[in-house]
């Protein structure tokens, strides 16, 4: 049924730390690997070894340049379905293939009912839904619904593949509807935010903003050893210890 549930018992989702993400694409490939054999199988690729390879991916990492000059920085920006509370991608679906689960808030596409009309992808402001040309149906992030409740997996693996794969701990999974959950505390502590709240879709996934820059003007670092005098003095050992002290003080 494409009418939305009034409330969901849980609001399962991801919290993505833009301060930590290094854009390694491990979550992207891990997602593809799991989901091309899981609920959304197949995740087709078109012309994979040819001149124009493209296909369905449920998680994409962009790189943005933010700010100018000395204050500019690169922000790696993972983007997938935000499992919105009021997603128009669900309500526009004419067949009932798209639905939002009342028990945990996960937004799914039933691949056996989807007619591939693509209207849901038009309704998504986040570009999160990708049509599978070979399969003829719409594909999207399932929040690894086939992992998180899967008792055949070891307990530590019952999290989305992208979260499991992230080598830097930039991705967190949990119940964002529960104010006491670790992810909710993280969101509160770091000022987690919604993408494009003005669209009115109420995303569940949250993004943690990059932390303020630390450089010579903002650093509180106090050297324990005087920095070597670049104009002549200071032997190699002193500069080594100064370097080691600086590193260990981080």
């Amino acid at each position: 049924m494409t009418s939305l549930p009034q409330t969901t018992k849980k609001k399962l989702g991801l919290v993505i730390d833009l301060d930590i993400c290094v854009g390694c694409q491990a979550c992207v490939t891990s997602c593809k690997e799991w989901n091309t054999g899981g609920y959304s199988a197949p995740l087709s690729d078109i012309d994979p070894y040819g001149a124009d390879p493209h296909g369905s991916w449920l998680n994409r990492v962009h790189g943005y340049e933010v700010g100018e000059g000395a204050t500019g920085r690169t922000v790696h920006f993972p983007r997938s379905c935000l499992h919105c509370e009021t997603p128009a991608c669900v309500t526009v679906c004419p067949t009932g293939a798209s639905y939002k689960r009342a028990e945990d808030g996960i937004v799914l596409v039933n691949p056996d009912m989807c007619i591939g009309c693509k209207l849901c992808s038009w309704a998504c402001p986040y570009g999160a839904r990708e049509y599978d040309e070979n399969h003829g149906v719409m594909k999207k992030c399932t929040l690894c619904v086939d992992r998180i409740y899967n008792t055949h997996l070891a307990a530590e693996d019952r999290i989305p593949a992208c979260v499991r794969a992230c080598p830097t701990g930039a991705r967190h999974f949990g119940d964002i509807g529960d104010p006491g959950s670790a992810v909710s505390k993280l969101v509160a502590e770091r000022g987690g935010y919604d993408l494009m709240p003005e669209m009115g879709y109420k995303p569940v996934n949250k993004y943690l903003p990059p932390r303020d820059r630390r450089d010579s003007t903002t650093s509180t670092f106090q050297p324990a050893v005087e920095a070597p005098d670049h104009n002549g003095g200071g032997d190699r050992a002193t500069s080594f210890f100064a370097w080691a002290d600086k590193m260990l003080s981080r």
């Binding site: 962009h62 943005y64 933010v66 922000v75 209207l119 998504c124 570009g127």
Partner: protein, 315 residues
């Protein structure tokens, strides 16, 4: 937005078909002309052929056309589903009118109810088509108050010009059968013109800074795309048409949709009954080409919010 030819053909052909159905049903109900079986067969046959051809064409853009029947189920929430339900429901009163008109040469009495119902459902179907687009907040050019009126008035205008042509084959055209369709063409012109003005004036208020939520850190520029080749989202949502071409095409479609048919309809007031079908046919062809260009532009000019993540400057 990518202009899918199947959807362009569907919305223009079915729109004209529903428009023609409204003109025939209402004119026959109001005793506009005798219920000649041949006029009923050709007129309603053409209307239903356009409607059916359009609906079949619309399934061509589906990934799984064999499951199209499932689209009738979600009318509670989905305008696309409502459009499907209304489109099929229209066939029932239209068939009653057609059988009565062609086989019994009567369009009066209880058949009037069928005619009125067919007209209401036809307009409701086109309304639902418009709402599919107008209800999407992700596309500024479609999420406009005039999107639905444009769909409805263009359906009545294209159907009106077809109505004049069909009628001119059978009978000398009464003045009302020229003036009322002309009024529909003029109404469609002003609706579309005001729509274009509204779209051009509506602010492209969202930027990559809004999309990423990183505006407080400075200007946001797309540095590394997530992949080397264009993906589905970029191919479907990222279609672009150069502004100068769009301006030219807008003018061309306005001439073809409005100017040529209006002149033809005015000439029909004075030309002889024998040459009338020729002038009406010119109006039909111009209107048809014009509305296809208009519909292509409706898609090609529309910008989708998701492109902000892929380097679009505003949406």
């Amino acid at each position: 937005m990518h202009p899918a030819y199947s959807v362009i053909f569907f919305t223009t052909a079915s729109g004209a078909g529903y428009g023609l159905l409204v003109w025939l049903a209402m004119a026959s109900a109001l005793r506009g002309f005798p219920a000649d079986w041949a006029l009923g067969l050709i007129g309603l046959g053409l209307a239903l052929a356009l409607i059916t051809g359009g609906l079949l064409s619309s399934t061509a853009h589906l990934g799984r056309p064999e499951r199209a029947w499932r689209a009738f189920s979600q009318w509670r929430s989905s305008w696309l589903s409502r459009e499907g339900v209304l489109a099929v429901a229209t066939y029932i009163p239209a068939a009653i009118l057609g059988i009565s008109w062609v086989f019994y040469e009567t369009t009066q009495g209880a058949v009037v109810f069928a005619s009125v119902l067919a007209s209401v459902l036809a307009v409701a179907t086109v309304y639902a088509t418009g709402m599919i687009y107008a209800s999407l907040p992700t596309i500024r050019a479609w999420n406009q108050p005039l999107t639905v009126p444009v769909y409805v008035t263009l359906a009545l205008a294209t159907g009106g010009v077809l109505f004049v042509f069909v009628l001119s084959l059978f009978t000398p055209l009464p003045t009302w059968a020229i003036v009322l369709p002309l009024a529909a063409v003029i109404a469609a012109y002003f609706t579309k013109r005001f729509y274009w003005e509204a779209v051009d004036e509506s602010p492209r208020s969202l930027r990559p800074e809004n999309a990423t939520g990183l505006g407080h850190l400075g200007k946001v520029r797309h540095l590394e795309p997530p992949h080397a080749q264009a993906n589905y989202v970029m191919r479907e949502m990222g279609f672009k048409v150069a502004r100068k071409h769009a301006d030219k095409l807008r003018r061309l479609s306005a001439y073809l949709m409005f100017l040529v048919p209006s002149v033809c309809l005015l000439l029909l007031l004075v030309v002889s009954t024998y040459t009338a079908p020729l002038f009406a046919l010119v109006a039909v062809i111009a209107m048809g080409v014009g509305v296809v260009i208009e519909r292509w532009l409706f898609f090609a000019e529309a910008e989708h919010v998701s492109m902000l993540f892929y380097g679009a400057e505003a949406a």
